[in-house]
């Protein structure tokens, strides 16, 4: 199956929700019936296993596979809730230097035969780990919080996606999508946070989804349950599910969270503040 798509989930800045989004998107893609594997590239600071709820089942990891110490199928952990969803964990004891260009290329190549979608959870920063995570991508999901520092870092990452990936070097284009996370419509209305339109205007790539700041996401992450599995009816889960459908080629319009409080609660909120 050469139709496999490699998706890198990246951002430049840390703490914007890459890992949470990788897990939620991966689960949502699997729910559409595709064979999906999420790969943790954050060697040394792995988290994806926790967010996926698989931390107690890790035996081998990406570095073991790269070094030939384990076969790919030995390292891959199949999700207990969805059997077409898998995880390839990162190593917690090694550092990013253990990732080699050829090693990563080999692992991705092997995975392309087994899965429809391979989601690479990039580490923060613009160094080796991040560039290797994006190296083989067909699609880049750029995770951005609506604040200036995150937007500027995302802009930098988009520049790298356009120059350092294999596709870019072959004069092909990596599809790029913007995923806005931790969006708070109330603060955006007050001007304390960038509006989605402002972010889109600066980054000028198509919008995939807007995920509101929500307790559901936080709770799901702490329980090791991607929000699309843990609270499938929440607004955040719907946003990720629509994003997954968009990635599979469906024409889905993007919903932007609005301030849904009634006029009285708005009045009282202002009074209290």
């Amino acid at each position: 199956m050469t139709m496999a798509k490699v998706i890198v989930v990246t951002s430049g800045k840390g703490g914007v929700g890459k890992t949470t989004s990788t897990a939620a998107l991966g689960a949502a893609l699997a729910q559409t019936g595709k064979q999906v594997c999420v790969v943790d590239f954050d060697v040394g600071l792995r988290n994806l296993d926790l967010v996926m709820g698989a931390e107690r089942r890790v035996v081998f990891d990406l570095i073991n596979v790269i070094n030939g110490e384990a076969k790919l199928h030995q390292a891959i952990i199949r999700d207990k809730r969805l059997d077409n969803l898998s995880l390839l964990p990162a190593s917690q004891t090694r550092d990013k230097d253990a990732l080699t260009e050829e090693g990563v290329a080999g692992v991705i190549e092997e995975m392309r035969d087994k899965f429809d979608y391979i989601l690479c959870d990039s580490p923060a920063g613009i160094e080796r780990g991040a560039t290797l995570a994006m190296r083989h991508a067909d699609i880049a999901v750029v995770v951005t919080n609506p604040e200036v520092s995150s937007v500027r870092d995302s802009d930098r990452i988009i520049g790298l996606v356009d120059s350092k990936t294999q596709k870019a070097e072959n004069d092909e284009r990596v599809e790029k999508y913007l995923l806005v996370t931790r969006y708070d419509p109330i603060r955006a209305d007050k001007g304390e946070m960038l509006k989605v339109d402002d972010v889109l205007e600066i980054l000028s790539i198509p919008l995939l989804a807007v995920v509101p700041e929500s307790q559901d996401v936080l709770k799901a992450s702490n329980l090791g349950m991607p929000v699309t599995l843990g609270s499938p009816n929440s607004y955040a889960a719907r946003a990720y599910t629509n994003a997954a459908r968009k990635i599979t080629g469906e024409n889905v319009s993007v919903e932007i969270p609005q301030d849904t409080r009634g006029i009285f609660s708005k009045f009282f909120a202002r009074k209290a503040a």
Binding site: V148, R152, D155, R156
Partner: protein, 248 residues
């Protein structure tokens, strides 16, 4: 504050003297912009290129040349640092003859250095001459946005960006810069000293706008121009900018 170096021919001798001075004061020139007074130099291109190349090889940041008018050099000035005036002179103290030095060893080193220097200079000269013989297209047109961290340098004419120039990126042009989008990064026009260069932006929110070395940072930008279609130009020694409102 810039320092002025006044090279005297024969240049090889002056460079030896200069090296002795630099060796006595390591780090003196680190990060310091320097103006080179070429009043005593012959107004001939190969000599000037040689001098500039040699100084650059010693990691001297040359801000500009002084002592001759652009008219005197004419076309010979192409590719050389811009011609300026003003600055503060530094005297190169005469190198002391150190009697304890080992003259023989030094002589051998020097001889090798000279051979190597000659090769390097020849190669640099050739590269510069070649670049001049086959110039890039006069206008560089970019149809993608300039992303944060990217630096576009075009020294043979104008730069046109169809898209925005992000915060944390820069465009350097020897000519004018045209941005059909938001200019949020740094625009450095007339980098070779062309005072007629201009900067145009559909929406101005720049971190820095510079023309021929004169610049304004975000804080000093004309408030009326912020977010508006704007052009910036030099009026004598003043960097001016005004909104383009479509009215003539």
């Amino acid at each position: 504050m810039a320092f002025v170096l006044s090279p005297m021919p024969p240049i090889a001798e002056w460079l030896t003297e200069f090296d002795a001075f630099a060796a006595r004061s390591p780090g003196f020139f680190a990060g310091r912009p320097v103006v080179v007074d070429i009043a005593h130099m012959p107004a001939s291109r190969p000599e000037l290129v040689h001098l500039v190349t040699e100084l650059k090889r010693r990691h001297i940041t040359i801000m500009g040349l002084d002592g001759r008018s652009p008219g005197e050099l004419g076309a010979d000035a192409r590719g050389l640092p811009p011609i300026l005036s003003g600055g503060k002179e530094i005297a190169l103290a005469q190198p002391k003859v150190d009697s304890e030095a080992e003259p023989n060893a030094e002589a051998v080193d020097d001889a090798q250095d000279i051979v190597r220097d000659a090769a390097v200079t020849e190669a640099a000269l050739a590269a510069i001459e070649e670049a001049m013989a086959t110039p890039d297209p006069a206008t560089l047109i970019l149809s993608d946005p300039i992303r944060s961290g990217q630096s576009v340098v075009h020294l043979t004419g104008d730069v046109v960006v169809i898209g925005s120039v992000a915060s944390g990126s820069e465009v350097v042009s020897s000519g004018s810069i045209h941005v059909y989008g938001a200019l949020r990064g740094r625009a450095i026009a007339g980098s070779n000293g062309d005072q007629a260069a201009r900067v145009f932006a559909q929406s101005l929110n720049a971190e820095l706008v510079a023309i021929a070395g004169l610049y304004k940072t975000a804080e000093d930008l004309d408030r009326a121009c912020l977010g508006a279609p704007t052009h910036a130009w030099l009026d004598g020694d003043t960097l001016k900018m005004s909104a383009i409102n479509g009215k003539v």
